[in-house]
Amino acid sequence: MNRLAVELPGLSLKNPVIPASGCFGFGREFAEYYDLSRLGSIMIKAATDEARVGNPTPRVAETPGGMLNAIGLQNPGVDKIIEHELPFLEQYDLPIIANVAGKTLDEYVTVAKKISKAPNVKALEINISCPNVKEGGIAFGTDANVAAELTKAIKEVSSVPVYIKLSPNVTNVVEIAKAVESAGADGITMINTLLGMRFDMKTGKPILANGTGGLSGPAIKPVALRMIHDVYKAVNIPIIGMGGIETAEDVLEFFYAGASAVAVGTANFINPYACVDIIDRLPEVLDKYGFEKLSDATGFAHK
């Protein structure tokens, strides 16, 4: 028995550890460090219809226990991703979760339709929560009706299950979660980054050229756990949890809150081996806390 295996719509994963979108490019850089087949899956960098150059620099600023980023969805466009990046990943035993973004509902639908047909894409993650672009992104993730409408439109065209990536920058995340569930979402991924700022002490100007950025890293872990906890109680679709995960214990804690799999983001920037180190330590952590298999721990906090 594989104690780490998890089953989610479209995804039979050998382990629940998935590098988070935007923190792992399209895998090429990390393939220099370890065999990507060891991962549960990869959430590849967001795809938009046209190529995007992203925001001006500086794009990152450090914070206590975290970092702000405002990359701005730089990517080569969905066609290039399908042509160059996804075929590269086919050499690995790895179902891919493709992250989809856009300025308009039409763009989301176009990208979702195209990329969901790629042979190794087994699920979509719809990015309605990027705080770093002026149009699209978070605008679709802060209003329950808009989020539901987008979910419905994407479900109609997608060839694979659809996960909606929720923003923590809302008053009531449960309301959005329920809305996308009703609209047909197969799962939820949460949380995206928290909107934040830092200022240069000499000039008084924001450090990030974009002004604001998304906060990630261990600093946001309790926020993610609380939100997953609340959403788990309210919906019947699985949650892929993320937000500051650094260790195998963190993974188990996210399962307790209600996650069925997890994504690891910022930790990859500090330790390129973060994901495989977590995978290696998970069996030991299961022993320590008395779980025969990891999937038994989902929602343990609610029992």
């Binding site: 992203g54 990152v60 990859n268």
Partner: protein, 256 residues
């Protein structure tokens, strides 16, 4: 072999105002082959500072399994690093990035190395390598003031050295490009590392007439090309990552 390793501090000393030279020992040195690359350092095991700090490689000594870095203790991370003592360990990821290509340089050609402030260190390994190759090497090192000057004597072993200070307290008064002009220094190749204004001045003056490379700096997160934080734009409009395709780019390649 893992490209991340705890390396032991062999020595650390202050060599100018807020400038430290640190020598580290460990097997990662065996993978260092090129001047101009950098390492990404995790200063503490705790979550603060969370991110690694990118610092350029100043000297590589594979025989001793050691390498040297010179850095300015300016932010909280580098200040913490400056307090570490020999025998302690720091976690190093590297070597990273694309360094200086010196293969195209012919033996009878003269190379000028231009370093500004904390951009001086990578030029030291360059000077050593070019000297070993038999080239004539000129080092033009610019600093704010005499209290900031370091490695003048070390460079003299391998190069003809010119010092410029902005306040004139040591050597030539003015910046490195003014020095090159005033002293009528002639050369075939120019290699530069330093603040953006210095790189811009080199590009303006020599971009059309000389061959060479420039090393860039940008705020980084991962240092391995994954996060897309440290990008710059190429003259062909394409984006490049300073940590991966760079930090070294051909003269004229990057839009300044």
């Amino acid at each position: 072999m893992r490209k991340v390793q705890n390396m032991t501090i062999v020595s650390q000393r202050s060599i100018a105002k807020n400038i430290y030279e640190i020598v580290l020992s460990g097997d990662l040195v065996q993978g260092m082959f090129q001047a101009g690359q950098f390492v990404n350092i995790k200063i503490n095991e705790v979550a603060y500072p969370l991110l690694r700090r990118p610092i350029s490689i100043c000297e590589i000594n594979q025989t001793l399994n050691q390498f040297t870095m010179i850095y300015r203790a300016e932010g909280e991370g580098t200040k913490l690093l400056s307090q570490k003592k020999s025998g302690e360990q720091v976690n190093i990821l590297g070597p990273l990035g694309t360094g200086f290509d010196i293969d195209e340089i012919q033996q009878d050609e003269t190379v000028i190395l231009v370093g500004g402030g904390i951009g001086v260190p990578p030029m030291y390994e360059m000077a050593k390598r070019l000297h070993a190759k038999g080239n004539k090497v000129i080092a033009v090192l610019g600093f704010a003031s005499s209290c900031d000057v370091f490695y003048e004597e070390e460079f003299k072993v391998y190069a003809e050295v010119h010092i410029a200070t902005m306040d004139g307290s040591q050597g030539f008064k003015g910046n490195v490009v003014q020095l090159i002009n005033e002293k009528n220094l002639t050369f075939d190749w120019i290699y530069g590392c330093g603040p953006k204004v210095m790189l811009e001045a080199i590009e303006r003056q020599f971009g059309q007439t000389k061959k060479g490379y420039l090393s860039f700096e940008e705020r980084m997160a991962c240092g391995i090309g994954a996060c897309y934080a440290c990008v710059c734009q190429r003259n062909d409009g394409k984006m490049a990552r300073v940590c991966k395709e760079g930090p070294v780019f051909k003269l004229g390649e990057v839009l300044l």
